[in-house]
């Protein structure tokens, strides 16, 4: 019995302990659950926070990607634009400029369709310059639509502002242009050359993924500007080319006229030479007779002449000599010009040629009290006809003597030049020649108007003959002079 109660009490205690333990266990579990709940709550909170961060990441990422895409597009666009600009700038033909915009360039800019129009003020309509990505049928419809809405497009050109499916605020208008250009997105930029007809350039795409950006507008504006500039360049080039053509044509016409005139002058000159030559020939024969008969009469073999008749005959004789001299000179000029007079060229010492002349003129020089000096580089050999060059020297020294007063000086200098010629200078201290006469003195029958010439007789053919002889030696002759300061005649001849 006792043991039964004892057992009951033990069981009671044990039950109590179990209850207490269970309570303690439950309490501890509850505590743990509470802890775990708190962790879960904290984890959920972290997850929510991470989710919020994820949202921030996504929002930043999409902006970054859009910027990146815009940048990529701009780089690709600029690269394409550079290539396109280079192609356009190499064209100077207006009709070819639009054709430089090729499909592959367009695709790189993100468009597959394009068309360009220029206003024709005479026809009062927009003329199509090029199109890509449109069929003929579509293009006809676009032309008709643009013709119908020409006022809008003219206004658009006047406003000088690019527009697009992004920037156009008038939705009805935007839809209308999209429909006209058969596209879902477009950019239209005005083409504005400084002068000439203006127009517009449109690019479009049917790609629904494409949305126009500021970058697209900028690129197409630059492209349209490039086209405008190229049109301007082409116009200027064409204008310059036309002017040049006209000038060339004028020059050609003038050259032809001058050639004809020159030929006419040559013909006349030849006729003159022929005339002078034949007249001179014809004159020489009777002149010889006149001179001969006068000489016979003067000898008195045909009877003594009264002093008056003798005086007259002496005049006839003197004048016949002068006339003979003129005729010979004229004949020589004519023969040189016609090439009938052959220069017997050979190597000769210039010093010797000048020395011979000196011998001929020294008496006259002394008589006129003129100091004559010769200064020649030693051993100058020249390729000349010595007889003709002698004539040249006699003429030039004779002239110098004629115009140099008593007590004056005449110098002859001769030297080698580096170009294979020798230059001879004959200078005097005479009255000199007026500037306006310097060129003319080498022409036939030209005589300077001065007191000496009025006193001294001359033919006006000496310098003309000298010039032709020098020319026949491939030389040059010129004169430097001033009134009162003497003259220097210079000529060049080939060294031998």
């Amino acid at each position: 019995m006792l043991s039964y109660e004892y057992l009951i009490s033990i069981l009671g205690v044990a039950f109590l302990i179990i209850i207490i333990s269970l309570v303690a266990f439950v309490l501890s579990k509850m505590e743990k659950i509470k802890g775990l709940s708190s962790i879960i709550e904290s984890l959920n909170k972290s997850l929510d926070e991470m989710d919020e961060q994820a949202k921030l990441i996504v929002r930043t990422d999409i902006e970054l990607n859009k910027t990146q895409e815009e940048l990529d597009k701009k780089i690709a666009g600029l690269y394409t634009l550079q290539k396109l600009s280079r192609a356009i700038s190499t064209t100077l033909e207006g009709s070819q400029i639009f054709k430089m915009v090729e499909a592959n360039y367009l695709e790189s800019l993100g468009f597959e369709k394009t068309c360009g129009f220029l206003w024709d003020s005479q026809k009062n309509e927009f003329l199509l310059q090029m199109s890509i990505g449109y069929s003929e049928e579509e293009m006809s419809a676009i032309k008709a639509a643009i013709s119908k809405d020409r006022d809008f497009f003219l206004n658009f050109i006047r406003n000088e502002k690019t527009t697009s499916s992004m920037s156009l605020t008038d939705i009805a208008l935007k839809n209308k242009i999209e429909k006209t250009l058969r596209s879902t997105a477009f950019v239209i930029a005005p083409i504005l050359p400084k002068e000439g007809e203006k127009g517009f350039f449109a690019v479009a795409t049917e790609n629904t993924d494409t949305s126009i950006t500021d970058g697209d507008e900028e690129l197409i504006t630059i492209l349209a500007n490039e086209i405008g500039q190229a049109l301007e360049n082409a116009r200027l080039f064409e204008k310059t080319w036309h002017t040049q053509q006209q000038l060339e044509q004028k020059v050609e016409e003038r050259t032809r006229e001058l050639t004809n005139a020159l030929n006419a002058v040559k013909t006349i000159d030849k006729r003159k030479s022929d005339f002078v030559s034949s007249v001179s020939h014809e004159l020489r024969t009777p002149l010889t007779s006149i001179k001969g008969y006068a000489a016979i009469l003067l000898t008195g073999k045909l009877g003594t002449l009264p002093p008056q008749a003798k005086e007259r005959l002496e005049k006839i004789n003197r004048h016949s000599d002068e006339l003979g001299h003129i005729v010979n000179n004229l004949l020589d000029i004519s023969r040189i010009e016609s090439g009938k007079m052959v220069m017997n060229l050979g190597k000769h010492s210039l010093k010797e040629i000048i020395g011979k002349t000196d011998d001929l003129l020294s008496g006259q020089l002394k008589e006129n009290k003129i100091t004559f000096s010769i200064n020649i580089d030693p051993d100058i050999s020249v390729l000349v006809d010595p007889e003709q060059i002698g004539r040249v020297l006699i003429n030039l020294i004779g002239n110098a003597m004629k115009f140099t007063p008593a007590g004056g000086k005449i110098n002859i200098n001769a030297r080698r030049l580096n170009d294979g010629t020798a230059q001879v200078d004959i200078s005097d201290t005479g009255c000199g020649i007026a500037t306006e006469d310097l060129e003319a003195i080498f022409e036939e029958f030209y005589r300077v108007e001065n007191t000496i010439n009025q006193k001294v007789r001359g033919t006006g053919l000496g310098l003309a003959l000298v010039k032709r002889i020098i020319k026949a030696h491939q030389g040059k002759i010129w004169v430097k002079s001033a009134v009162g300061s003497g003259s220097t005649f210079s000529f060049t001849i080939q060294q031998g």
Partner: protein
């Protein structure tokens, strides 16, 4: 080498001239006595029946398979306007059979898949089969069912790789090429067996972001509700914008932040691009999504994309285990083309460099890729993927 390959490319805009040029180039590089099979990949503007006629006029009675792409790939370059023709010559011991199925929508994708599987098996009695390759219309709503149907016939763990044809991002019509026929609402394929080796690599490079969400209502490729709220709310919440803004920025959202489906037991998430956003709060995906799927918002960068490309190449090499490939097929998601932008060429350069100058790399940018989720071992369910680079190297 049991497989001989000749590849030709043309970028001519005239389909006849393009076909003649590409075929001529391919023949120049082809040194086998008999052409056994022809692959054709063409951009949508060149996807015309005339290219098939031109090719078959020159090489009659040779089976042809292929499809259209937003861009075609040949070696390290992609072409927005291009046609690639690959001629294959097989030595004895390699078996294959081509087949096609049309009217998929009417037949339902699963039935059509079963039909295609059955047709592919023709002639394979007592021959061990190794690999199935399929091309399907990229605008079919439930390509996953089509794949399931094929696997019903070929085996639920049979390795199957494929590409969804694409167009020039207009989502208007994509084309399948099978012999003389240019088809839409169709699929075609080739089943290989015998002495054939292959290596498969499939990776996308997108990472999960934010909390896990539950698809509470979906049908086919349309999600109606996520976490018992309109599906678009997920994107509205993360991107901080309304539906209208989402619709206007769909191009970015679809490529950059696809939906990732958690597949139990798999390391990688299965991605789904968003094809369109309904004003009623629905998300229309490029591929089906089962109700009760656990999904995450995914995020990708150019770097993670290219990293995945390298991983895919590694997987191909692991599968090949020392043997050499005769050619590499590449099915690259159009999303990667958009995301990589100017760097799209870089991805192709990496691939070409890894396989070397002797092995042609041929393929296209797709609207979807089909392959097992894990490439190693090729065993397991075949899924429709988005955003992946799928590399299939085939050798004798």
């Amino acid at each position: 080498m049991p497989i001989n390959v000749g590849v030709g490319l043309s970028t001519n805009k005239d389909p006849i001239l393009a076909a003649q040029e590409a075929l001529q180039h391919a023949k120049t590089n082809f040194f086998h006595e008999k052409i056994g099979l022809v692959f054709i990949f063409a951009t949508i503007n060149l996807s015309t029946p005339v290219i098939l006629k031109t090719v078959l006029a020159s090489i009659p009675e040779v089976p042809v398979i292929g499809c259209s792409g937003a861009a075609v790939i040949y070696d390290e370059k992609s072409y927005n306007n291009g046609l690639v023709i690959m001629l294959l010559g097989f030595s004895e011991g390699v078996y294959f059979n081509t087949a096609f199925v049309n009217n998929i929508k009417n037949k339902t994708p699963i039935t059509a898949g079963e039909e295609l599987g059955e047709k592919l098996l023709y002639g394979f009695k007592n021959i061990p089969r190794d690999l199935g390759l399929i091309f399907c219309d990229g605008l079919i709503d439930n390509t996953q069912d089509l794949v399931n149907g094929i696997q019903e016939k070929l085996g639920r763990s049979f390795p199957l790789v494929g590409a969804c044809a694409s167009d020039n991002l207009k989502y208007a019509r994509t084309n399948i090429f099978h012999n003389n026929d240019l088809l839409s609402d169709s699929a075609c394929g080739v089943l290989w067996g015998g002495k054939i080796n292959f290596g498969l690599g499939i990776k996308h490079g997108w990472k999960p972001l934010g909390k896990q969400h539950l698809v509470t209502k979906s049908y086919g490729n349309i999600i109606y509700e996520i976490d018992s709220q309109p599906a678009t709310y997920l994107y509205e919440d993360y991107l901080g914008c309304n539906v209208k803004k989402l619709q206007s920025e769909l191009r970015f959202i679809s490529v950059l932040y696809p939906i990732g489906i958690y597949v139990p037991g798999e390391e990688e998430y299965l991605l789904r691009n968003i094809r369109s956003i309904g004003s009623d709060g629905t998300l229309i995906l490029q591929g089906s999504i089962p109700e009760s799927s656990q999904v995450r918002l995914m995020i990708g960068t150019k770097e993670s994309c290219l990293q995945a490309t390298n991983q895919a190449i590694d997987d191909v090499n692991k599968g090949f285990s020392g043997k050499s490939a005769s050619f590499v097929l590449i099915f690259d998601s159009i999303s990667r083309y958009i995301l990589l932008g100017r760097d799209a060429g870089k991805e192709l350069e990496i691939i070409k460099k890894q396989f070397g100058p002797e092995i042609p790399v041929v393929g296209l940018y797709t609207y979807g890729e089909q392959a097992p989720l894990t490439a190693i071992g090729y065993r397991g369910k075949v899924y429709l993927h988005n955003q992946t680079v799928t590399l299939l190297a085939i050798g004798g």
